[in-house]
Every structure is written in C-alpha cells, then in structure tokens.
Symmetry: C2
Subunit: 571 residues, 2 copies
C-alpha cells in the first residue's frame, strides 16, 4: 500500500474573492479531500471531503459535496495514477463517509458564484470526467464507482463517468439527479448525456428519474440501467474487490514498469507574465489579449524508447503538455477579461517532428502512449475554451507536428509571407509542417482530427494536405492548401495582426463564445461534444435565468425554507 | 402564369401586445410580403416586404427585413407549392426590391421582443428553413436562391437553406452574417451550422466572415463556398432561368397531376378551447396544461390511391396533420404559460392503421409521399417544442401507427391497466399497436425513428418491439416492452396522472426545457439537430445576456448611434 509522490501545492482563491489566483497545481501530500491507496493492481480513491476546506469562504462542504478545490485534487489524482502508477490497472472511487457517497456540487458555492465561475467550474469538472473515461478507454485503467452510500447530482455524475457502478443495497442509498426539482438547473456535468448515450437509459425513464429528488436504488436502479449492480452491505467489500480485480485482469497495462514522477511544476506568476520552462504568457490587459509563446525543444530529440523513460517529466513533449495544461486552466478561471489568446512558437520545427516521431514509434509503450494521450487532452481543452484563439506564424517559429495543432485549433491563423525588412541574413521565411501527429493521434472530442474537421465534406482538400506532409510549407502554399487563414507580407503584418486583435476585443464576449463553440465543431458529434455543446449550452442558459439565479430563484432559495419563485413562461 | 389558391387569413398580434393571438393561417390572396408566380415547372417566390406590414406595431420592415408575419407567409407558400403544385419542380426565391435581397430579421422587432418571442420566432423560422431543405431532398422541389442584391443575416440564412445560391455581381451586393459585429448575437437560424456542415466553408473563414458586417461578394464568395455562382447583371436573368431549369430537369415530380388544394382550416378559438374537426385542445390555465385530443378516422379507410387524391385535404391523415401543425404553432407562441401538453386519442386503432397502410402502399405517388412527409415534419415540431409532453392511453384511445408517434414523442406515457370500474360492458382495456409508420417513414431530425432513438444502444429491445408489430399491446405488455413509462391500474390512474401534471407545473420552466431538449435526442446528431440543439441553445443563452439584450446591449443600441456597452468577461 502506498500513496502518490509529489509536492508543491500553490494557493487558491478565485479572482473574484481574493487577489490570489486559483492554482491548479497540487500533489497527494497536500490533498485535503481525497485519499489514494494502492494495493497491487488496484488503486482506491477515497473521497472524504473536508467540510472546512472550501476553496472560497462562505460555504461548508458537507456530505462530501465538492467545489473546484475538491475537483482539482481529483484531476491531479487521475493524472498521477496514469503517469506515476503503470502498475495500476483499475481504480475504485468510493467514499470515506458513512451512508453518503457524494452529494454533488456544493449548493452554497453555486448560489454564491458568478455566472462565469459556475460555467468554468462545470467545464473543468466535465473535462476531468472525460479524462476518467479516457483513462478507461485508452490507458487500460478502468474506473469502478463503488457507491457505498447515496450519490446525488454531481456525485452520481462522477459515477456515470466510471466504467461500472456498484450501489450498496442498504434500503436507503440511492442514485439521483435532483438538480431540476431542487435547484431549477440541469445536472451540469454530463449526467443527462451519459444516462442516454452511455448507459442507454430510456428517455422517459431518464426524464422521470431526473425529477425525483429521492432518487432510485436497489433492483429498480439496476433494471433501469442506472447502476450495474446492487449489492447488500455484507457482500459489499467482497463484491467491490471482485469487480475491481476483474477490471484489472482485463487491462493491458505493463506488469513490470517504473512510474514517471510528475514533479512540481516550476511556474512564475506576475501581474503581466506567467512563465514556465517552455511556455510563457504575456498578459496584455489593455488589449484584452494574452500572448502565449511555446518554445520548441532546446536540443535534438533523444533516440530510443529508454530515453523517454529516463527523461520522464523532463521529456519535452510531456513538459510542454503539463505547462500548457496548467496555463490554460489558469487563464480560463483567473483572467476572464483577456478574451483573445495569441499563440507564438519559437524553435526548430525539425526537432519538434523528431520528438513526435520518437513518441509515435512506440505506440505499445505505456508511457509514450500516456504522453500522446495527455497532449490530446490538453489540445481538447483549447477546443472548448471560451477565448478567441489566434495563431501567428512568423520567422523563427516551429509550427510542426504537435505544435501545428495550435494553428489548427485556432479560430484564425496568420502566416507571414517573406521576412521582415530589417531581418538578419540567417532569417528564413516561416514555414509550417504537417506531420504524423496531425493525422490521427491527437483527435478532437468529435473523434476526428483537427484536419479532418477543418476539411469536413472536402476530402480532396484533406488529401492535398496529406500529400504535402513532411514538407516545409511557406505562407503562400499554406494558404492555398487551406491550413492558414491569411498570409500577409511583412509590410502589412503588424497592422493586420493588430487590427484582428483589437477588433476581437470590441465584439460581444458572449456572441464570440457562441460563434467559436459552433465553428470549431463541423461534422459529427460524439457523447463528449454533446456534453460540451448541447448540454452545456442549455445549462449555461439556465444558469443565467431568473428561475435559477435570480433573487427568488431556486439556487438562491435552496435551504432557506422558502420556495423558489418561478416564472412559468416556457421559452 | 398563375397564383396559388386559398383564402381565410386570420388576425395576428402577439399575446404580449394584444389580446388577439397570432394566427398562422394564411393564403396567397392575403399575402402582404410575397408574390408567387409559376411558369411551367418553375415557381418564383418574390420577397417584397411591405414596410408597414409588421405583425406587431413599433417597427418598419425596411430593406426586405422580416418578422414572424413575413415568415408565416413563406411557410404557407412552401407548403402550398408542395401540395397544390405537383407540376412545380424547382423554386426560385428572389427579391422584388432593388439591390437588396433581404436584410434579415428586423432589428427593431428583435430589440423590442420578449426573450420567449425571440426564441419562438427563431424556432419557427428554423423549421421553415428545414422544410425548404425537406422539399428539396424529399419532394423533388429544389430551391434556388437568386440573390439579386445583398443578403444579410437571416436573408443569407434563408439562401443557405436553398440547394443552390446565385449572387449578382454588381460590385456592391454581398452575402453577410453581421449579427455578431452589429448586434452581439449569433446568426439565429442555422447560419453557422449550414456554413460548416452543408456548404463546408472552412472554420476559420466562417469565423472571419461572421465578423465582417460588409460581407463578401464576387469571386471571393464563390471561392470560399459562400455562394455557388457570382453572375454579372446582364447575365443574371438568363443564369437564374438556366439554373432553375436544370434543377427542374432533375426532379422526379409528376408531369401530369392535379394539385391538392389546402382549403381554409376550420378552427374555433375560445378562451379555454381550440378546436378543429379532428383535433381539440382544452386549455387548463389553472393547472398550466393543455389537453389535446386527436380523433381517429370517423369511418373505414378508403381503398386505392385515387381515393387519396379525390379526398384531398379531407383525407384524414392530411387533415390531422394540418390541424396538429396549426395547434402546435398556436400554443407555442400564444400560450407560453401552459407548460404541459397532455395527449389523448379516441377512435378505432384498426382504422388508423388502415389509413397508414394506404399511404405507405403508394410511396411513389407524389401526394401520398407529401402527406407522409408532412406528418413527419409535424411530429418533428413536437420534438423541438419546449413543453412537457405527456401521453395518456385509456380505454377508447387509438394510439396505433402514426398516432402512436405521439406516445413515442412524449416525455412520459401512462397506459391504463384494466378498465375503470364504472365502465360499460363494451369497454375494452386500452391497447397500443406498433405499425409500419413507426418503423421508418416519420423519422426524427436525427435521422432515426422515435423507436430507434428510444432504444438507442439497445438493439434487442428494439427487435422485441418490432417482433410485436401489428399486435394490440395491453398496458402490462407495453410497459415490459418499454413503449410506455407507467401502467397504473384504473384505481391509481387519476391520482398518478394528476400528480404528474401538477408536479411538472411546479418545476422551473427553464430547467424543464433543458431536460427535455437533452432527453429527447439520444444518439447521433444531424445538421438539423445541431441547429435546434447546439446552435439554438447558445443563441438562447446569448439572447439572455446583458451584452445583447440589456439596456446598453447591442440589440438595444443598434441604430441609435451609441455604441453598445460590453462586459468583456468571457464566460
């Protein structure tokens, strides 16, 4: 039995409440709400929320209810199980409290939070739930929800993200989605979508279930597909162990392997600068923009699989993924008024491609696989980020392979044609390079690559791009192939880029969010994109309505003994 | 050259403005905004909006901008072209004004409208656009947008619903989606989705285009896929005629056929009752519910195809479709506080099935086809209606075939087991019957039948239901097969039904809308469901935000010379 490594938690108060920004960096030694134990191939995540440990003052985290701080720890635990524990083949999530698994998101927190905070909280929570499913599907680390007490709302939604759900049959424990009847909102973290599209609960039963605050337990919960098994108290421990062992036995994780320790992420945060080793963000509060620069590898890629394992979290792709991931989360919640993120890269594109190649040459290695999956998840965060994304391709940049995904994730990309007049003799015009990393491994939530989504319905354009894979593409060619939006020459460059950023800051922030959420997802939808699209958009609308968030709305009235005042108008 | 038949337009003022409810019944003799001409196989719909003809006082419909009244006429014209004009094989939509095709939805109307009105307006407009695509795809009546002037916002979105778009090249006419930059909202009627998923415009170009109020014209509009052809002024008339003739030449519409006249729909509207010949709605304002009763055929189905043509709009399935369609539209916009619609049927299920059979025996007949398609569209309206739908299956009901779709569209269905104690000797327990109409012809917007959607991910349950097609299924059996939600016996019936309706009225209207919008659409998404789901949900959210609808928001400030006051916070 052992815990997980690491150290270095930062502070953490939301911008709105304190000057200190929320910090997403944490490690098991600092957890206040979760315990992690590992026995052989099975890890157990015990949720045991510290009532007094809320991220923001003003509410108590009773009954294993959670806020962003609790979920930051869960996200960290899920990440570390993947990277630090190759031996873990199944993960049990259960509760350290008696008779309650988890009461869901804390209502006091929701009632007091700004609209933006609620939306950001749900987004991050959704991403962590999707990450649990990704670990099950792609890392052979299957999650088992062992509901040793009632799972309500977000508590049940956490269970829904697991591969299997066991519910204790003690004649009182149930699963429930009481958000609609009690709070006038939707289950905000994928519950409805997973009920229908993952567990295949019939729509009318899902409707009925979602209006019953008392929930459903026992054999009925099994019959409706809400849980997989209902287990009596005296058979509980053994049943959980048996299912966990069975899930573990199906895993393809290695039997003998050393984990990759995720050491504390070095980060400097100043008023106008956030910097890491390979990533730096300059915050331009006047323009409402952030300039994010990703540095390519400082040296040539190592050769051979052992190098990846030896370098661990120093390995450039993993280090960049961790830094970008943290930066995205930081900016999303702490810098709400910086509406445009402008990407820059600098370095040698050939080195980026060499690192990509090394990773992709070893798809059967658990760590190489984990690193690619982490890159995929980090890029997916960009796709659902409510900020305008602009990529600037200038001489000295290295948008190749995995870094080209920043261009493909962007709402617009500018690629400089030629070189600035004052350039030295060594400066070459900027090029971009399509590599194997762009053709499959880091797909979007819709299951397609960013290239496939970009050229949806236009297979010949996609084929033309694929035919140029590996070639350095200057601006004119990249524009013709449809890989970049505009290719201004060096004379027009500054003006065009400045206008694009200024214009963006002058538009309605909400309309931009809607525009981007629609334009980024051409083509088919998946359960994941339905959660971030259809479901989240409806939830955001409801969060913004007086029936939920107004002074007489259900979120404000909950727990006061007063009934909410509802406007019955159907919209 | 001839116009279209019909008579009998009602009044039409929105509930909020006048006591007189909006009436969706209209006919060409009363059009104020459209002219319909037919030459051989080509119909032309000329949009020539009467500035003073707004449905609500307070705005002028300048520059061919439209409000709900304009769109009610368009919907009527599209319907009549399908039913009354089998000879029409392609339809040209163009403008009767100089240099302007259509400026989109009227801003004064949008600025003054309630949130519910805006949402309802967009929904109906969306349904009409989808209906145009349905006519093109399934009725061999292809639409050609002949943009003889600038098409902005909703004007361009109307063009996007057409199969092909021609834009005049006069050095000033463009297509544009200026909603985001000018109004702080999204193109609300499918624009973004159709740009990406229908016309395959690249996402970054779509983003750029949607921020340019001046739009894009000429060869650039063609290169980006925004239009199909840019045509000089002197070639315009011929080019439009050529394309229209080409579209007509590909049509499978009959060459020799008499149309089916849609005579004025007889309707009585009182304070608490809306009634037609086969459909009646009792408005229970205390309970916040509407009881809708659909009567089955009054006699045996006729035999043979000629009977359908002879009966025309008296043919029971067509008559019911028209009445239900009108009722849905009426209740949606005029009765916002009646949040639950309770369906009842009465009649002989065998007769319903016989009518279904007669229709489905003649898939190649244009009129039989049109009637089935109309039933499909009408049922699809229910799927996107923001009202709770409950179906009650009681002795004497006739939920078979097409009427069983009301059960399958409902959020919950109650099926009485046994018969009430006081029943006479002739009363049989209620049964439902699955028929061929439930297995394909009236699919939902996601492309699946309601049964396939209901049993998404559960093919054995679907197979079990199909195996019982044609059998009268009593409550117990229907419940086991998963066709109904609950099967209370006659003793519990009244209480259970009453509680279900009462409870629904006590929930947050907004949360119910979100719940239903998610639960009704398990499984895959289509362009149509993306428009009504992802896109509309975001638009509704934006409509509700201060940046758009607040006192300093863009919708209110438009045209005042004052810039909107934007909160730059990104949510």
């Amino acid at each position: 039995m052992l815990g997980m490594s690491g150290d270095g938690r930062g502070g953490g108060r939301p911008h709105a409440v304190s000057a200190s920004p929320v910090d997403f960096r944490v490690d098991p030694s600092r957890y206040r709400h979760w315990r992690v134990t590992i026995e052989g191939p099975v890890a157990t995540l015990v949720m045991d929320v510290d009532e007094e440990g809320g991220l923001v003052p003003g509410y108590q985290l009773k009954l294993n209810s959670y806020d962003l701080g609790v979920d930051i720890e869960l996200y960290d635990a899920v990440q570390r199980l993947r990277f630090e524990h190759p031996e873990v083949r199944s993960v049990v999530i259960t509760s350290g409290k008696d008779r309650i698994f988890c009461a869901g998101a804390n209502i006091g927190m929701l009632a007091g939070a700004s609209h933006a905070w609620k939306v950001n909280f749900c987004k991050f929570t959704n991403e962590t739930r999707s990450g649990i499913e990704d670990a099950t599907a792609n890392s052979s680390q299957s999650y088992l929800a062992a509901l040793n007490g009632t799972a309500s709302g977000g508590g049940y939604e956490l269970a829904l993200a697991c591969e299997e759900i066991l519910l204790i049959d003690d004649r009182s424990s149930t699963v429930s989605l009481p958000e609609l009847p009690l709070l006038g909102v939707l289950p905000g973290t994928g519950g409805l979508t997973r009920l229908l599209d993952k567990r295949h609960v019939r729509r009318d039963l899902a409707d009925y279930f979602s209006t019953r605050p008392e929930g459903v337990g026992g054999s009925r919960a099994v019959a409706w597909g809400l849980v997989d098994q209902s287990v009596s108290r005296h058979e509980w421990t053994e049943a959980v162990a048996t299912r966990a062992a069975l899930l573990a036995s199906r895993s393809a994780r290695p039997h003998q392997a050393d984990g990759c320790t995720l050491s504390p992420l070095a980060k400097t945060r100043q008023e106008d600068l956030i910097s890491y080793r390979h990533v730096a963000a300059r915050l331009d509060r006047v323009a409402g923009a952030v300039h994010i620069t990703v540095s390519g590898p400082g040296g040539d890629a190592p050769t051979g699989l052992p190098a990846i394992h030896r370098l661990g979290d120093e390995f450039w792709p993993l280090a960049v993924a961790r830094e970008l991931d943290d930066l995205i989360l930081d900016l999303r919640i702490n810098e709400l008024e910086l509406g445009t993120w402008v990407f820059h890269t600098e370095g040698d594109p050939a080195r980026v491609l060499a690192y990509d190649r090394l990773l992709l040459e070893h798809p059967d290695d658990w760590l190489a696989n984990e690193i690619v999956l982490y890159l995929k998840r980090t890029l997916k965060r960009l796709d659902v980020t409510s900020r305008s994304l602009i990529a600037l391709i200038e001489p000295g940049s290295c948008y190749a392979g995995v870094l080209l995904e920043l261009v493909l994730a962007a709402d617009r990309a500018f690629h400089m044609a030629g070189i600035p007049e004052e350039s030295g003799p060594d400066i070459e015009p900027a090029t971009i390079i399509v590599g194997p990393m762009n053709l499959g491994p880091v797909a979007m939530g819709n299951g397609l690559t960013r290239l496939q989504t970009r050229f949806w319905g236009n297979p010949s354009a996609l084929a033309a791009v694929e035919a140029h894979a590996g070639e350095p593409l200057p601006a004119e060619e990249a524009e013709v192939l449809g890989l970049v939006t505009f290719a201004p020459d060096d004379i027009d460059w500054d003006e065009e880029v400045r206008i694009a950023i200024e214009e963006r800051a002058g538009f309605s922030a909400d309309a931009l969010t809607g525009l981007e959420a629609n334009c980024r997802f051409a083509g088919p939808e998946s359960m994941e994109t339905k959660i971030f699209g259809r479901l989240s958009a409806w939830q955001n609308w409801i969060f913004n309505r007086p029936n939920a968030a107004g002074p007489g709305g259900a979120l404000k009235r909950f727990g006061t003994g007063q009934r909410p005042e509802y406007d019955r108008t159907r919209v």
